[in-house]
Symmetry: C2
Subunit: 377 residues, 2 copies
């Protein structure tokens, strides 16, 4: 496989520094006590990123493992769970809840906008008999960021614990786990952090721990069972052999991100300029409100199909962009601008290539997208 | 963490070639169709290693994920399962079966020997009403290899499907999946293959697929659910983002192992010489029969404790050896000689260091272990 410019909403480009950390010589992470310190320090760096004092764990598996581990560990059969659903991921989160026996109530909100806080407030007045709620921070397929800062404290007022899928947002959107009273935050290595795919990490509040450790029914399964992690550090025992190379890489990636004080601002600024370039150029964004800072989703222009744009971007320009799936399949195009993808020059050449593909297919824009981008960034 | 000589039964040393593959630039494994071919070719190489035409999958997670995925996918509540138990891993495999609702019958066999085939044959004459059996190829804690070549065909005669944990054996012990009629074989990246920890792989026979796809009850969970992998290639869709860097490394590791025509012979020869050196030197092996070719387990000599040997090996000689856990905790010492650890010079310096540690602690041996090793290897 040739190295392509991957402008998708994750996996993102992995920098040479991170790949160098990945390729370091390893030790035996079960037996070398120094690795327990290294793992702990890496979790502490992640705590900084998540703005939390809660425990943080890194699990060996893809982001979806984090979602499943949260559901498997917190939910007992029959538990009432509210799934906030304004997109494909929010809806799918509800399916994970059901898989572990939760009784799901979907709070359905417009798929083209961030969750409507006032409507949620009205709903909660009459319906708040929930143990837990699932919330998606960034609806990656539609490019929408939800106001987790408002949603989670509101749920907490009713005693509802919150599990937030922030896989595609962490590092690219503000996230204040403790201030916003989030019980569990879920992240992944291959998004804004720009480490290789293969790791998920999560924070666990005292209340979430208490629920996990005081269940009436056993947790179904081992790999998704967070209770087996309760005393990993005190007992110097991991539930399974840790993926040491991937954790070396994640550590380097977190340090790079923490040092980059302007990361959030850059994500905001570049995302805004991408949106301006596209809309002033005459294209139509998918969301009407609540735009993501890590991924922009826009409609496939009339007169061309997604496949043509995708293939010509890849074949003629060596740039990989994304479509979406489910109800958005073939309807939208996605450009990821997260982590290592979130630099002006990468967006510039991506939009320039898009200009050429559109031109070649006789799709007119009001102005060249890459020049508009430069004007607004 | 300083780079230590890791002489444990996995994770093993990861060679520079494998680490170089690990650190290659990535693509987006969900969207780049070339990666589906790369993944498939890697599975095909694993098929060669396993001597099978069955499907092979690589999962993103540690070896234990493979065991759990097999149990989660094959077992329905109430299914009768035979767990062949002549060690800590065999016994623990039964716990995984229970976790997914299986009714477990343990076939208990002497923990100091390979499974007694005649006794198993006698047992099966009267008790063979099982859907499935779990078998451990290498009992890593005790250093015993079970005769999977005899066990699996015998079970198959009674229509019992077999799931074999070969995590610590694959590549270091003969394994003929199809000839021995094994329905599922489970492996891990960090053992004989000497790739970094983080991947498990498994083979699935047509009969196992048929059971998975024709269940009466849904599979509990997603990450351990093998049915979602049924059409990954045809549909060009992975159940989750694949850990591309780890798979690059695994591919390189499999290729190295496949090219090494003398690998099995070297494992056999080195293991035998280690055992001769230890026993002629006056130490006592833990197993009485069925010695593993990938790990040697021997008793902590009288007059010294495990911790002293472990710590002096590490501190004074920069060599990491292993103890064991459960009922073997503090009783035995383990030296791994699998994959990249299975070279004369590495065993030589390990035994030489052990000689010095024993001497320093006034534990006498009949002859120097490292010299005995050289004599017999």
């Amino acid at each position: 496989m040739k190295a392509t410019l991957i402008m998708t909403p994750g996996p993102t480009y992995v920098s040479e520094d991170v790949r160098r950390a990945l390729s370091k010589e390893i030790t035996n992470p079960d037996l070398d006590l120094a690795f327990y310190e290294f793992y702990k320090e890496t979790c502490n760096k992640l705590k900084q990123l998540l703005n939390t004092n809660n425990d943080v764990l890194i699990l060996s598996g893809e982001g979806i493992l984090g979602l499943e581990a949260a559901c498997a560990s917190l939910i007992e059969p029959g538990d009432k769970v509210l799934a906030i659903d304004n997109g494909i991921f929010g809806n799918g989160f509800g399916d994970f809840v059901k898989m572990y026996g939760g009784q799901v109530k979907l709070f359905q909100s417009d798929y083209e906008k961030a969750v409507d806080i006032e409507k949620l407030e009205d709903f909660l007045k009459d319906h708040h008999d929930f143990k837990m709620a699932t919330v998606v921070h960034c609806e990656t397929p539609s490019g929408i960021t939800n106001p987790v800062d408002l949603i989670c404290p509101m749920l907490k007022k009713y005693g509802i614990i919150t599990v937030v899928d922030s896989v595609s947002a962490i590092g690219g959107e503000p996230l204040k786990t403790d201030e916003w009273q989030i019980d569990m935050v879920l992240g992944g290595s291959q998004k804004v952090l720009s480490a290789p795919p293969g790791l998920t990490f999560l924070s666990i509040s005292d209340e979430a721990w208490s629920i996990i450790m005081n269940r009436k029914t056993p947790i179904a399964g081992y790999y998704c069972n967070l209770s087996v992690w309760r005393n990993w550090y005190e007992e110097k025992w991991f539930p399974y052999t840790q993926p040491i190379s991937d954790i070396y890489a994640l550590r380097e990636a977190v340090e790079i991100l923490l040092k980059d004080e302007k990361a959030l601002e850059r994500h905001r600024r570049i995302a805004e300029a991408v949106r301006k370039a596209l809309t002033i150029g005459g294209l139509k964004l998918y969301p009407k409100a609540g735009f993501s800072n890590t991924v922009t989703t826009f409609m496939v222009p009339e007169g061309i199909d997604f496949k043509t744009i995708y293939e010509e971007m890849l074949k003629d320009h060596n740039i990989l962009i994304a479509g979406a799936f489910g109800l958005l399949k073939d309807k939208v195009i996605r450009i990821g601008h997260m982590g290592e993808n979130c630099y002006e020059e990468k967006i510039y050449i991506t939009l320039k290539a898009l200009d050429e593909v559109l031109k070649k297919n006789k799709i007119e824009t009001k102005d060249e997208l890459h020049k508009l981008f430069i004007q607004y960034v």
